[in-house]
């Protein structure tokens, strides 16, 4: 990346990076497969939490 045009592009990308990341992740989060994945993760954790006292008993 050495030309002025390249530099202008990487600066533009830097200035809009957080907005782009938030929009991108919001899109991923609304993806049914991703939503199902985090729900599954939550269920796995719920089962772990439920099993923990039994293990200690």
């Amino acid at each position: 990346m050495s030309t002025a045009m390249d530099r202008a592009r990487e600066i533009e990308l830097a200035e809009t990076a957080e907005k782009r990341a938030r929009e991108r992740m919001a899109k991923w989060n609304s993806d049914p497969k991703v939503k199902a994945s985090v729900r599954r993760n939550h269920e796995t954790i719920r089962e772990m939490k439920a099993a923990a006292p039994a293990k200690r008993a």
Partner: protein, 168 residues
Amino acid sequence: MAFVCILDNEDAFYEVARRGSSHLVTINVGYDDAEERSYSAMVALDRMAGGEWELTFCLSEYDAETDGIHDFFRERDVAGFIAKNDRTLILVHVIRAIHDLLHSVQPDRVYMCTFEADLPEPAMLKYDSIEEMFRVCHYAVHRQPDHHGQRIWWMERRAPAIVDGLNT
């Protein structure tokens, strides 16, 4: 509330989602011991309009009561409720996910930058680790001049012949 980390240095539960050429790795990292909330590290590799790729990572909080997801992108927000040792463990798995993504997607050129200006050195350590993983995966890492304190990188995949050492 207190964050409980479920990770160790061994394997973690990873899931990969695809949308077009974009990839997302979800890593189950922990939960809130008082609320119905669980946490995942998200690592995304997405293609930009110019054809280059961009690496994004964040911590996502799933609230089972609202079925909503909230993303944390800033270190200081995460540091408010996750201890340093646990953040280090999460980083270990994020780096592994980046390794897996680079091997499976093989992007030619990847852009990365910090969102915040003038991050303190401790906050930059994770970027040092990411840089190193790119090098391990046979990428040339080009750190560009900062832009108002934001750090910028381009990572470029080396030619296959060099990667494989066939020309030596």
